[in-house]
Symmetry: C2
Subunit: 457 residues, 2 copies
């Protein structure tokens, strides 16, 4: 029975790739205003694929300015467990466009690697799930367990729609476990379960000095420079080692366990190779009292994601900028309370704002960190399925990134979360030349396929 | 004789305005790459006007990437003094476009005020000169004194072409005095001679951390953030009171004389009105040990004119920026050596750059401050002509802005510089809604006209 399904997955790799390319051609950038048509196309693509399998599918529209989500279920496996699988069809903006070797929304395979925005984050992984289900339906007419599918369109933006949907539908979404297909492999050939994610606060700081941009000759010396004052505020948020001065920032952190710290020390990792090949900066940043893994997995950060003010086009304009803006974010470690941190951040920025300018702080989103239950049989089965397919021991790591809805699903459904996926460290998520190794795409289908089979035991 | 010319100026105000509007419609933005066609149109407009008067006119082409300048002369006033008059036909970029009430290159008169980019800086003043000359030629067939006209197209950019032209042609340009028509009136109804200008250094700082933008979740805690590091560098250049930490920055400043300080204290000025109506910021910035006039006229500054890095478009992108840039400039007080300051600035930026990023500093332009000889009869005649036309005492002030070529003309031609003009403090130079009061445009023609007549005495 399983052999027939496995054969189907292996025989259909080419059409699977073509289908994924079609999905990737849709520029479903959720943070781009006015992009509603492409967002609806993204949702419809997923819904149509699942409908074609005979699943019960609905496209759930949100409020104005929200993007639709896709919910599907098949509950025909009486007496078997129910798994809800989460993914997202929205993608990050592709800028800077000039750094892409092939255009972001024209998928191209080069040397066994598929390049496109969303290839790994997260369309490729959503499509892995769809093809797993297709294999079972087409070869057996059913699924080995009960499956609920929840694919949202706001993971890269507010995520408000799916948050509300989950909170309002605990019975409809009830499941024995939550599979979040939005993480990746620690290293090539090393299947990986993610046991923790950082939380995230996104915010915008806007500083205003003079009422309008002023001539730096006529007013330089008396007019406040919004760009300089914003720089001073930003500069003051962190110490030279990147530690954050916001009061109480580190108070509630739950430290990683000794077992976790030991596992992280055993990961195949060389800090100097990592610096040179992955980061590429003269030195690594951050607090040297903590290892690279600790800093990424279990310590909070403050980042400027974008800064702007004055005249930055080609040429030169001797203005004193009246306004300067920074888009900023904070990654939160396990234990940190996003509401508390956001409030302290706002107070802190106001407290360090000089008299000559006014600053507004807008909190755009807040999500707590997530910690998985590594003792759950659903986690153990995922590790086993992946070890068999990839023929390698499954690693347990945390990740520094954030999937806000994972925490919500875990708490609302009171179910263990399994975080896994098949991207690689060089997949350029959120950056130019995002990619997915085709071998991982195909093996990912087999690994998730085997996982569903193992859950029947 | 003079009455006939004066009558001509008064009778032709409407056609003069139409002619100026035509001039202002040319988007001669010198810092905009690829704008050669419009720059040539700007130069040709000026040259054609002067040719039509019967002057000997040449358009002087520069090197590749330089803009043409216009040189014209009429030397038929044997035994009379020779005045060389400087102005510029290039303008600042108009951005931010959305803040203009009427489009920057579609001149519009509202309530007696002409709005357009370049209306006051400096096309309106160049056109005043042209119409003065036209009045004399059309009513008397000649000019009262010998006139050389030098109108460049790079005042808002490098100014390299006119610098070289002046240095290479000291005999051709020889004159008894230099009239720089590129400053303005201290207050409405108060004619003004400018006795000093600040110097200017323009530069760009570029910081690079990681080799590419990185996901702030996956790499936050170890990847340097170029925007934060640039903010820290910028923040460190100035103290909270705006004083500059660059070593030696204040060493060579020539302090204003007691007479100047006394004159500045007597200017019709209220700091609180100035803060509220002109600057519009919560408080004024700068070193409170010095008066507002001292800070603008006689103290150096450091400004960020533009800052950029990461993702600043609409929406949000959780990247760690690999690169961040700042366009910066320094206004120099009298006595400061631009070469020495620029070199010290470069060393200083490198010395405060953290190990995790690399910074490059590019010096784009350098010009010293200028101090005028208030004892010169050419300066006194200018003050007298303006007092008569405006029926008010002429004020002597300095300006905080810079006209690099003024210093070069003064030193190469060994001639006194007269800096004057007819713009007002609310003319929005370098900002949206730049404007020129039509009453000053018309009175400016009469004042410069009378000045030429007075110089025959």
């Amino acid at each position: 029975m399983y052999d027939k399904t496995l054969a189907f997955w292996r025989a259909n790799q080419d059409p699977f790739l073509e289908g994924l390319k079609e999905f990737l051609r849709i520029p479903s950038i959720s943070t781009l205003p006015g992009n509603e048509v492409e967002m609806k196309r993204g949702a419809k693509f997923v819904a149509d694929e699942l409908k074609a399998l005979g699943m019960d599918v609905s496209i759930v529209e949100g409020n104005a300015n929200e993007h639709p989500l896709v919910y599907a279920e098949w509950l025909g496996a009486t007496g078997k467990p129910t798994l809800i699988v989460y993914g997202h069809y929205d993608v990050q903006p592709p800028e800077p466009l000039e750094k892409w070797i092939s255009p972001p929304f024209e998928p191209e395979v080069r040397k066994g690697v598929l390049y496109a925005r969303g290839a790994s984050d997260d369309k490729g992984q959503v499509y892995i799930l769809v093809k797993v289900l297709e294999g079972y339906f087409k070869t057996t007419g059913k699924l080995p367990i009960n499956i609920k599918v929840l694919i949202e369109g706001e993971e890269e933006s507010s995520g408000e729609h799916v948050e509300r949907f989950v909170r309002q539908n605990p019975k409809k979404l009830a499941a024995d476990a939550v599979l979040v297909l939005d993480t990746g492999m620690y290293a090539p050939g090393r299947p990986t379960i993610t046991t923790g994610l950082r939380g995230l606060i996104c915010a915008e700081i806007s500083c205003q000095g003079a009422k309008a941009d002023l001539h730096s000759g006529n007013y330089g010396g008396v007019a406040p420079n919004a760009a300089i004052e914003l720089a001073k505020i930003i500069a003051y948020v962190t110490t030279d080692s990147g530690n954050v001065r916001i009061p109480g920032f580190y108070d509630d952190i739950i430290k990683p366990t000794k077992l976790e710290l030991k596992a992280w020390r055993r990961l195949p990792f060389n800090a100097e190779d990592f610096r040179r090949d992955v980061i590429g900066s003269p030195t690594l940043a951050g607090d040297k009292r903590f290892s690279v893994h600790q800093r990424i997995y279990a310590r909070p950060t403050f980042e400027v994601n974008g800064i702007s003010g004055g005249f930055s086009d080609e040429g030169f304009k001797t203005v004193i900028p009246a306004v300067a803006n920074a888009k900023v974010s904070m990654r939160l470690a396990a234990g940190m309370n996003p509401d508390k941190v956001a409030a302290s951040f706002e107070r802190f920025i106001q407290s360090v704002t000089p008299d000559s300018v006014t600053c507004t702080v807008q909190i755009l989103s807040k999500a707590p960190a997530v910690i998985a239950d590594t003792g759950s049989p659903f986690v153990k089965a995922a590790a086993k399925a992946q070890s068999e397919v990839f023929k390698a021991e499954t690693l347990y790591v945390r990740r520094g990134s954030s999937i806000p809805v994972a925490g919500t699903l875990q708490s609302v459904l009171s179910a263990p979360v399994i975080l896994t996926g098949f991207t690689l460290p060089d997949c350029n998520m959120h950056a130019p030349n995002e990619n997915l190794h085709l071998s991982n795409f195909y093996s990912g289908i087999e690994a998730i396929g085997l996982y569903l089979a193992l859950l029947t035991e």
